[in-house]
Structure formats: structure tokens, C-alpha cells
Symmetry: C2
Subunit: 237 residues, 2 copies
Amino acid sequence: MVVIGNEILSGKITDSNSAFLARELRNLGVSLERITVVPDEIDVVADAVSYCSEQFDFVFTSGGIGPTHDDVTIDGVARAFGVAVIEHPSLRRTIEEHAGADPPGAYLKMAQVPEGSELVEGDKVPFATVKFRNVYVLPGIPEIFEAKVRALCERFRTRPYHIREVLVREAEADIAPYLNATLAAFPDLLLGSYPKLSHPDYRVRLTLESKDEGYVERALEDLIGRMPAKYVVRTTG
Amino acid sequence: MVVIGNEILSGKITDSNSAFLARELRNLGVSLERITVVPDEIDVVADAVSYCSEQFDFVFTSGGIGPTHDDVTIDGVARAFGVAVIEHPSLRRTIEEHAGADPPGAYLKMAQVPEGSELVEGDKVPFATVKFRNVYVLPGIPEIFEAKVRALCERFRTRPYHIREVLVREAEADIAPYLNATLAAFPDLLLGSYPKLSHPDYRVRLTLESKDEGYVERALEDLIGRMPAKYVVRTTG
């Protein structure tokens, strides 16, 4: 995910889109590998999009697609792939339906796409989503970002992650040897260890994950069997 | 800023440290140029830290410095600069004060630093901050991250940004020509335009910023003079 916006880097607006996308993708069985927040600069957007498009299966951008001077995402995506920016006739029609025939230039900026883009229709939001190769260009306004992700998400669904949690009342450093032993026995386990300060019930939340449900259950049994019973507050999930 | 943590990419935990750091740095007059969230993988952490250390004046990492298997930030920073990981005698003493003489290995993991690190003392938190070249290594737990940033922040303070805001009741596309005209007259102005859906009072929040207070005031006067008076809800700041 590439988030575009000076307002986030300057602390004026707190980005909620990345946390939303992270949760949605995980629920779809998709692993989010990178989030990068960049300023409203065409070259910087281009570098980040180019890198992520090469490294990963899909890229989602957030922000920078409005009508003003600081909306540079379309230019950035086009530059990432060395293509021109053109006006898309279908997007122009949508704008004319909203703003009337012969709309001012700032409205038409929102009809611009990298040449060769596909439009993904069927959203419950009025504007189609611009897709260039493996890059989905999404808006920064959270209400619209979320609606578009919900409309798109089924195309990404894959085998789900299975997760179990263990809440532990001892400190991380004291349970680390048990975690390492379980990991040695279950090397493909995704094992997270998250300390929590001043929670009345527990000090560490452990998450055990895999796409193989039986593997998670066996790893959980292994870990619980290793730790002194009094360490464990409860298991969930 | 480099944020390290599978838990953020998988949506289990929402990162608040980047928004906190963004606001704090801005208040100090410092421009945050990049936020990158990476998984708990040594090579990926190393690549992100190496890139940011070269591109920017300072780098802050968040997360991945605890005692468990998924805490790989120290290894990642060391690999970024091609140095070894060593035990720091002063950090070992701090750990021994807390955990007793001859602490278990998982505790001692927290005494490890990239060889050549400096310790920044004087925090109001018990542990010193590890600094390697221009990289400050900070913990992921928000309470401790924030305390450490507050303890460190005066060393980064520089000339402040001056900011004025204008709330506008017209749509972004309708005010874009005025924004472009003001930017042509004030090319060094940092001008942000942030649409707000369904706010009762305004549709766009404009922010005008510069380190030169007079420049911001003249740009504000220029912009207000261009727009029809009825567009403007109010100016603040």
C-alpha cells in the first residue's frame, strides 16, 4: 500500500485507511507486506509505486486523486510506468453527469488516468476505480476509500488464515524460551508476541496463525503443554 | 520513520506511533518525509533503514526491540550498516538491576546493539535509547515510544512552521483555480486542500504554511482576495 499525502506526514490528518486495508486484506487471507506513506511529489510517488508494483502481487494507493494542485497520484503512477496521462472518456461522462456539460478544468483533472488504465466498475460509489496493471488507485477520503475496498475485496479473497490467541500473565522475556521451542517444532507458524502495559488480566498476547488450521491447533497444544499452567490466563479464537 | 511489525500489517494492532511522531516533529519545525511499515524480517528492515538513513537526516524506528523471536530491529539496523550485533555493557547492567545477576538469555537480548551504537541517556524511562549513526531505535509500545520521543525531541527543534487555515463552503474543484493562482504568486507556499464529507459548516479545509510568517500572511491575504467572500466560512490559526 502506498499512502500519498503531506497531511499525514505533517500530522494534520491521521491515516485510518492503512489500518482498514490491513484488517480487510487479512480477513480475505491476503498478506499485506508493506505500507509506505509519501509526500505529494510526483517522483516520490512514482518511485514507491514502481518498487511495490515489482515486489508485490498488488498495490493499493490511497489519496492524491482530487482536483487540486496537490493531487499528484495519477501523474505519479503514470511516471512509475513511463506512460502518458490521458483523459478517460467514460470518466469524463461521469463528471459531466455531475457537473454539467463542458465542466471547468479542475473537474476534468479527475477524468485523467495513466494511458492503458482499466476502469473497475460496479462499486456502490459513483466513480469507477482506476486500475493500472497491478495498481488500484483509491481515494484518500476514508468513507469512499472503505466503500471502494469493500466493493473490490472479493477479487482478492484466498485461503483464510486461522488464528488462536493465548493471553499470558508472565513477562515476554520469561516466556521467550517456550515460544522458541514451539517455533523450532513448528517452523511455519506465524507467532506474534505482543506485550501490554498495565492490563489487569494479562501481560502478553500471543497470536498463533497459519493457513493450515490443524497446524495451528497442534502448535497451540505444543505451546500450552510447554508453559507452566499458571502462566496462561486463557486461550481464545 | 520505519515501523517494524507484522501485527500492524496484519491489522491486529493499529499503529499510533507514526501519527504521534508526525505531529511532534511538525511542532518542532521538522518535516517528516517518509513512513514505511515493514514486517519482522531482518533483510526487509535492513533495506528500509539503509534507504532512509541515506536519503534523510534522521531515521526513527518503532518496534521490534523486545526479547522474543519476532524482535529483529537490532539485527536489521546492524545489517543495514554491515556491522556486528554486540552486547552493550551498560544495557546489561540496567537489565541486571531489574532482573537480577546472570539474567536469562531472553533478557540479555535486550542488551544487544549494533556495534558502534551510542546510548542516549537522560530519558524519564528506565532504558537508554540506542542510536546508531543517524538512526534512533525506539520501542513499539506507545506509552514508551511517546515518552522516549518527548525526552529526545528538543535535540531536533528547528525554525517552526507558521500555519493559517481557511474553511471553505464550496467544493474543491470550484476553488482550485484560486488555489493555483495563489500558488503561482507564492510558489514556496505549502498549500494543503482537504475535502470533508458531510460537515455541516464547510466542505474544504485549506492550510497555508511556511517557515516565513510574513509569507504565509501575504499568501493568505492574496487567496482571500481572490475568492468570492461568500465562499469563506472563516480563517483560523
